[in-house]
Amino acid sequence: MTNPWDATSEHLLRELAPQVLGAVSRRFRDFSSAEDAVQEAMIAAFTQWPEEGIPDNPRGWLIQVASRRLTDQVRGEIARRERETAVARETDIVVPTVEIESDMDPDDTLILLFMCCHPALTSSSAIALTLRAVGGLTTAEIANAFLVPEATMAQRISRAKQNIKASGVPFRVPSPQEHSERLPVVLHVLYLIFNEGYASSIGSHLQRLDLAREAIRLTRCAKGLLPEDAEVTGLLALMLLTDARRAARTGPDEELIPLDKQDRTLWDQAKISEGIELLTATLSKGSVGLYQLQAAIAAVHDEAARAEDTDWPQILALYELLKRVAPSPMITLNHAIAAAMVHGPSKSLELLRALDKGARLAGHYRLDAVRAHLLEMVGDHESAIKHYRIAASRTTSIPERNYLMTQAARLAGD
């Protein structure tokens, strides 16, 4: 008995990936090999199901295929050792028996998320492993999304697993203390996946996997597992409220269109409503964190029908809170912009002078870009042009460089 493959099937298959990996890891007590075996089972399913239909028990099918791969591997390994030691004797090969349970353990997905977003990993390897083990993506898809060769991505994933093994994290639900220590890392990795997708959707890499959508899917899943955690919900709201503007933020030549110049009728109202609803629900619980506050700022922008309707005093107040909750030079910089919109640019230019002395932001293109913008506001076009050009020569993003060069050219032409 099978069911036909349709547009929702890929989604179903991806949701099953971490559950299957959880079941197989626990049975074989080897996360690293189990992860490889599940990847092979996923590729088998992606090849066979669209043609042959989806088996009645897709999860059982995947567990069985992955377990068979692992069993073959264990047998092969034993046989190799026997040959090497030249011990010719009959061996009873003990491989765990595979019985298909019908129940699911949703905790497995959570365990995996915490495992892959492990502090022992660099963010690039945590991202790669999370997309494969929790997101159910193939190595080829992930490699394509990051524009690196598949062999490079495979190596990155395998090194990530070695690091996890070396760090000795057991395969279990984190204790409450581990949970609170490590949740920020999990959220940060999800945030980075979203940002990568958001940044790379500009440019000529049209065939790339939609990482922003994938990040939203994974964060939605995390929210389902941790419904009480306000920051998880805050992060999901932030992603939705930002992604809602996607269609409006680039022009026909892929040029960046800043928020105040966007055609707001192109904003996705369904995403905005969902984001605002999620945010309202978490804010009513009382606690505020980094992602909730950023989501709140995104929501204020999204709620303005025209750029001039933006409630800047509210945005400024939110940045002041953000500066206290999660102080960083980048937040100080954004705070300066909001302050300029409320109190005028002169005071904000002073705020920037303080950042020139800080080691983290001095020489960063964003500082020059914001300074150029404020200088333009005070009418000092000559200095604004100079700083737009400095920012253009320092950014490492081509769409942003084009944008900043065009800003300088626009002022020079006035």
Binding site: L147, S204, D253, A392, S393, M405, A408, A409, A412
Partner: protein, 130 residues
């Protein structure tokens, strides 16, 4: 056969081109359009743009093997601005693409006629040697 098409047009000490906005936008649109065209023709392998020369560093290992960096370059030095790798049927086709790049519009919409370096990319051993 694969070719690398290199745009060696940047000069040390020269930053962002100071062209009028319209010309700058035409240049950007030309480059984006060319990439799309090469993707649609199935010849595009990869393309990258590089940062301006003021971000460039010359690195050499010192006696202790540690990096020694130098960021000061003579005015006359030319810099790679970006490159394309294309997979085409003939060298002539690679030259034709290079000529398109060379004639990219600059200030006043006039073709820049930049010198473009085209070099074959080494491939695997030929079948008769396998």
């Amino acid at each position: 056969m694969k070719y690398i098409i290199m745009m060696n047009t940047m000069r040390a000490g020269h930053g962002v081109p100071e062209w009028p906005q319209k010309d700058l936008q035409a240049h950007i649109a030309f480059m984006i359009g060319l990439n799309k065209e090469l993707q649609q023709s199935g010849e595009f392998v990869s393309a990258e743009g590089l940062s301006f020369p003021d971000q460039a560093k010359l690195v050499q290992a010192g006696k202790d093997g540690l990096p020694v960096t130098d960021g000061i370059f003579p005015e006359s030095k030319e810099f790679l601005a970006g490159y394309w790798i294309v997979d085409v049927d003939s060298p002539e086709r690679a030259y034709a693409i290079a000529a398109r790049v060379s004639a990219a519009p600059g200030a006043g919409g006039k073709p820049l006629n930049m010198p473009i370096e085209v070099r074959p990319i080494m491939s695997g051993p030929p079948p008769e040697m396998l």
